[in-house]
């Protein structure tokens, strides 16, 4: 755990200078679902040895298809595990947790102090994030009033100013969630998640439920607010188009592990891992010929994952070693890590 003495105000304005501890650092995290029915134990290794860091003022993207473990990873990071999900190994460090404390060890009072002020969330379904029987104003009071302080008019002025960042006027405060369009609701949740200027915002498929026409506006808004507030954003979505549009760095997850991580542009222009290559090659683009891509098989069953590299049964470059050993994420170029024996130059 990094104990950073920097004051709050300085931290927000920290730019490239002395290397600073990352906002979030995940090290060899393992989160398994463990069930026992009729004496039969099953273990699903949804997150199996994931390591990455989210730095200051960046949008870090995490891409993966269904059953790649990305939602489980978010739950483990946010300490939102419920049985049968258990974190069985590894560490999650957040810079704002002072001392040697982990989120898992925090008491509920401590969590209440951290949540929304230091760590906040933008969820997929904005309807379920907002209380349907309360006006939007009450949601802001519930979430933010105790962190921001101020009462009555002073608090409202802060909220209205912040709503301006997402181009909403104060009229929405008196609306019920169902009276707003999907795009407006998602903008309200973005405002809620950022009003306390948290260090880290976790966004889980923030635009998946939105209409195509609205999606781009909401993404633009997420970027604007993130840049202005200076929070770091961990953005998880299966949609590579969103990653290409929004993220600074990108990691691709497959079968519970990260297979490649690089600045987004590098990953799109020169992916190395065969799975990342396939994924990026299969993106259709207007004005280009149809990608002819076929990858045999389907995603691995994480209850009985294949030994060695989890991609080897579908991999065109699979070697004998891939069936036996697990490749680790290895740095192949500055900021570019890949987990593959064939292309990663691992001895």
């Amino acid at each position: 755990m990094s104990a950073t003495p920097a004051a709050d105000g300085e931290r927000k304005r920290a730019t490239a200078g002395a290397p600073r501890a990352p906002v979030l650092s995940v090290d060899d995290l393992k989160a398994y679902y463990r069930t026992r029915h009729f004496g039969i134990e099953r273990e699903v290794r949804a997150v199996d040895g994931v390591s990455f860091e989210v730095r200051d003022n960046e949008i870090y993207g995490l891409a993966g298809e269904s059953s790649s473990g990305k939602s489980t990873l978010l739950k483990a990071i946010a300490a939102a595990m419920r049985p049968p999900l258990h974190v069985v190994g590894g560490t999650v460090r957040m810079r704002f947790l002072e001392g040697a404390k982990s989120l898992y060890a925090a008491s509920s009072a401590e969590l209440a102090q951290l949540r929304w002020r230091k760590l906040s969330y933008i969820m997929q379904g904005s309807m379920s994030a907002l209380n349907p029987v309360r006006r939007v104003r009450r949601s802001f009071e519930d979430f933010a009033a105790r962190h921001l302080g101020g009462t009555g008019a002073a608090f409202e002025a802060k909220v209205v100013a912040h709503l301006g960042l997402v181009r909403l006027d104060k009229g929405v405060l008196d609306a019920y969630p169902h009276e707003l369009s999907g795009g407006m609701r998602q903008r309200v949740t973005i405002a809620l998640a950022t009003i306390c200027r948290p260090d880290l915002v976790i966004a889980d498929e923030p635009t998946t439920a939105l209409d195509v026409v609205v999606q781009k506006d909401v993404l633009d808004m997420i970027r604007d607010v993130q840049r202005q507030v200076g929070s770091s954003l961990l953005l998880v979505t299966h949609d590579l188009g969103v990653h290409a549009y929004l993220t600074d760095r990108l990691a691709i997850m497959y079968g519970g592990r990260l297979v490649e991580e690089a600045p987004t542009e590098t990953l799109f222009r020169s992916p190395l891992h065969p799975y990342a290559k396939h994924l990026i090659a299969s993106l259709p683009r207007i004005g280009e010929a149809a990608p002819k891509v076929t990858l045999p098989g389907g995603p691995p069953n994480l209850a009985e994952p294949p030994p060695g590299c989890r991609f080897h049964p579908r991999c065109p470059l699979a070697m004998e070693r891939c069936r036996r050993d697990t490749p680790t994420l290895t740095t192949v170029a500055p900021q570019h890590r890949v987990a593959c024996f064939a292309v990663g130059g691992q001895a």
């Binding site: 195509v212 840049r227 600074d248 542009e265 799109f268 396939h278 259709p284 891509v293 076929t294 990858l295």
Partner: protein, 281 residues
């Protein structure tokens, strides 16, 4: 030759009478699919534009408030009920959005393929239905050995959607109506499924009505597109023409909503995308 499918001034309004709000889901839509040469026609538009309502009317699941829908010169209104419905489903087969809901979770998936082979495909029981099923699975890149005696939850979304297409093929339809068939399928499998549409058109002579909000896949597999907004077709024509040079303001708006990687914008002029988008702190 009569068109395969012909919609003439079709409108559909929901609600009315006791309900205060009437919703005009489809307004005065006309288009047709050629009867002599199969084609892939895409209906494009955002949610609420009336795409699915049109699909449901073609499948006889809704009746139009006004106008007529004809399938090989026969009125769909006459085909949608009773014994004639089997004839309708022998001509047009659906593929729905959510492959996980398209199969009964309590039955093996091959059950439905064999059933369709017997009912609509003219195959007899036993080995004949098996052979027909195997042949149609091959068409979509699967085999009976892979899917026999499997439950839906044991298969991926991509596999299930291929199965749904294989099942539709067993009825030997002239037209497949595919309503958002890949929006719930993983990106790495999406193109493989969408590419199937052109294969089916070329090899089996089946026309496809592809319904989607995704311009990129529409561009790649359609011969023609019709762009819908609020129940109306605002622009239609050859897919490449309409999608690369949209004329209507709304088509352009849809085209502009497509996410393009922000780094492609920085090409060639020496500024990196990074530099462009970094705020001045």
């Amino acid at each position: 030759m009569a068109p395969l499918l012909e919609l003439t001034n079709v409108s559909k309004t929901f609600g009315g009478l006791l309900r205060r709000r009437r919703v005009a889901a489809v307004r005065d839509v006309s288009f047709s699919l050629a009867g002599d040469s199969p084609e892939v026609l895409t209906l494009l538009g955002q949610s609420g534009s009336g795409k699915t309502t049109i699909a449901r009317m073609i499948l006889g699941l809704e009746t139009p408030t006004a106008g007529s829908l004809r399938l090989m010169a026969e009125d769909i209104a006459a085909l949608r009920r009773g014994a004639a419905r089997r004839r309708l489903l022998g001509l047009v087969q659906p593929i729905f959005q959510n492959p996980f809901e398209a199969f009964n979770p309590l039955r093996h998936v091959d059950h439905y393929l064999l059933l369709t082979a017997q009912r609509f495909g003219g195959a007899g029981y036993g080995p004949e239905a098996q052979a027909a099923t195997e042949a149609s699975l091959r068409q979509v890149g699967l085999s009976l050995a892979e899917v026999a005696r499997r439950y839906p939850h044991e298969l991926s979304g991509g596999q299930l959607q291929r199965l749904a297409i294989a099942r539709a093929l067993l009825a030997k339809p002239k037209l497949i109506v595919a309503d958002e068939p890949v929006s719930m399928v993983d990106a790495s499998l999406r193109m493989a499924i969408v590419n199937l549409f052109q294969t089916l058109r070329a090899q089996l002579g089946i026309s496809i009505l592809y319904i989607t909000h995704d311009l990129a896949t529409a561009y790649l597999v359609s011969d023609r597109v019709a762009i819908m907004r609020d129940g109306e077709v605002v622009e239609s024509g050859a897919a490449r023409q309409v999608l690369t040079h949209p004329q209507h303001a709304y088509s352009r708006q849809l085209r502009d909503a497509v996410l393009v990687p922000r780094f492609t914008a920085g090409d060639g002029d020496g500024t990196t995308a990074e530099a462009k988008h970094r705020p001045q702190l």
